[in-house]
């Protein structure tokens, strides 16, 4: 469906957008019910189509970053942060 030439044109800062997406989903996955209650007052947030949690979506971002890291240091750097055990999205 897509040619190799299409992939060759990947924007160099594409990993940044993937990082933002994965961070947001990770933050949501890490939230307890109490956290959500405190932030939103109990309003229901979106749930993944693939069941509870956003593991599948996060993996999609990580896989894309893994493939890009061999030729893009920004992908490598962001992947390194996301894969840290103690990774905590920072909004402040």
């Amino acid at each position: 469906m897509y040619s190799v030439a299409d992939a060759e044109k990947a924007h160099i800062f594409l990993p940044l957008t993937m990082f933002f997406g994965a961070s947001c989903l990770t933050a949501q996955n890490n939230r307890t019910t109490d956290d959500i209650e405190a932030i939103t007052g109990g309003f229901r947030l979106l749930e993944s189509n693939g069941g509870p949690g956003f593991g599948g979506e996060i993996q999609s971002c990580l896989e894309a970053l893994r493939k890009m890291q061999s030729f893009n240091n920004l992908a490598k750097d962001h992947l390194g942060i996301l894969e840290r055990q103690d990774f905590m999205p920072d909004y402040r």
Binding site: Y2, S3, V4, D6, A7, E8, K9, A10, H11, I12, F13, L14, L16, T17, M18, F20, G21, A22, S23, C24, L25, Q28, I39, T40, G41, F43, R44, L45, L46, S48, N49, F54, G56, E57, I58, S60, C61, E63, A64, K67, M68, F71, N72, N73, L74, D77, P89, Y91, R92
Partner: protein, 325 residues
């Protein structure tokens, strides 16, 4: 070229030689008024290459050098009234515009990455002549370089003149722009969101809560972003966005900004009276992040066997041009 996989063996040589040539140029030139457009373009290429292949610090320093050259070449005022003489080659003019917008976007991407301040700001205070610098009538407060022409028109040698960034931002219609212009508009919204975030932190420290101004700014940014997202979605089906790297990036940048706006609210720790709004922004952020993941998957499934990345610089000069400078 140095980033393409088929030139992997020449990569370092190309990079080192280009960089050396540029360093020599900097040593030779002592005239503040002369900056060749190819010199700026070459520095842009070097910067992109360093972000991808060298270390971040070196890339960041090169970016700063590029931005100074952009300012020295006055690429932010290509279409200012006193610069329009009517006899300049329209292709060269468009090349200058595109070089400016690539640098402008790069500045904001770096800011998003590192949260460092911008260099190429939107509010350009420009006196027509130094002797008139106190005359308000002669001062412009905006970037005087039109948004880049659609790619096909430029490649065909007949670039189309688009509006200015400030007009595109102020406009209420869902005008269609080239992917590069769309990126410039989206990254501007994102840049303003970053500034909004900084101001809101100061306000929170001063007043202890979100001010009315905070919500006005936030809703304005959100409205602007939704307008661009609607225009993108209506105009470009997602499949073509994946086939076109710049469009794919524009889509992902727009979704990233949705996430960023939700992060600003969450970081603010708004009081209970704002919880419905916070929940709504969070819901949209989740949807945007899910869309980023979906687009990442589509991108990841593109064949990577021979893949390397190529920077998105529509004005990339051949090495011979750099050598001529």
């Amino acid at each position: 070229m140095a980033l393409s996989s088929q030139f992997e063996n020449f990569r370092d040589t190309l990079y080192n030689e280009t960089r050396q040539m540029l360093e020599v140029l900097d040593l030779c030139e002592d005239d503040m008024g002369v900056v060749h457009i190819e010199q700026v373009q070459a520095w842009l290429l070097i910067t992109h290459y360093e972000f991808a292949r060298a270390n971040y610090r070196r890339a960041w320093v090169s970016a700063g050098r590029t931005f100074r050259l952009v300012q020295l070449a006055k690429l932010h005022e290509v279409d200012s009234p006193e610069n329009i003489l009517g006899n300049e080659d329209p292709i060269l003019l468009e090349e200058k515009r595109r070089t400016f917008w690539v640098a402008y976007c790069l500045d904001r991407f770096i800011c998003m990455e590192s949260r460092w301040p911008l260099t190429l700001i939107e509010e350009v205070v420009r006196a027509i002549s130094p002797i008139y610098h106190t005359d308000q009538a002669n001062v412009s407060l905006q970037i005087c370089t039109r948004l880049p022409s659609p790619e096909l028109a430029f490649q065909g040698g007949h670039p189309i003149q688009l509006c200015f960034l400030s007009e595109a931002i102020a406009s209420n219609d869902h005008a269609l722009f080239s992917p590069l212009a769309e990126c410039a508009i989206l990254v501007t919204i994102c840049g303003r969101a970053m500034s909004h975030s900084q101001v809101s932190k100061v306000e929170k420290a001063a007043y202890g809560n979100a001010s009315l101004d905070f919500w006005l700014r936030h809703e304005w940014l959100d409205g602007m972003l939704n307008k661009r997202l609607d225009a993108l979605t209506v105009t470009y089906p997602v499949v073509s966005a994946v086939a076109d790297s710049m469009l794919l990036f524009a889509f992902m940048l727009a979704q990233t900004t949705v996430v960023y706006l939700a992060n600003i609210i969450e970081g603010l720790g708004a009081g209970t009276q704002y919880q419905p709004a916070v929940a709504e922004y969070q819901k949209r952020a989740m949807r945007a992040a899910t869309e980023i993941a979906r687009l990442s998957k589509a991108h990841e499934q593109i064949g990577y066997i021979k893949v390397s990345n190529r920077i998105l610089t529509p004005t990339a000069p051949p090495l011979a041009v750099v050598q001529r400078c």
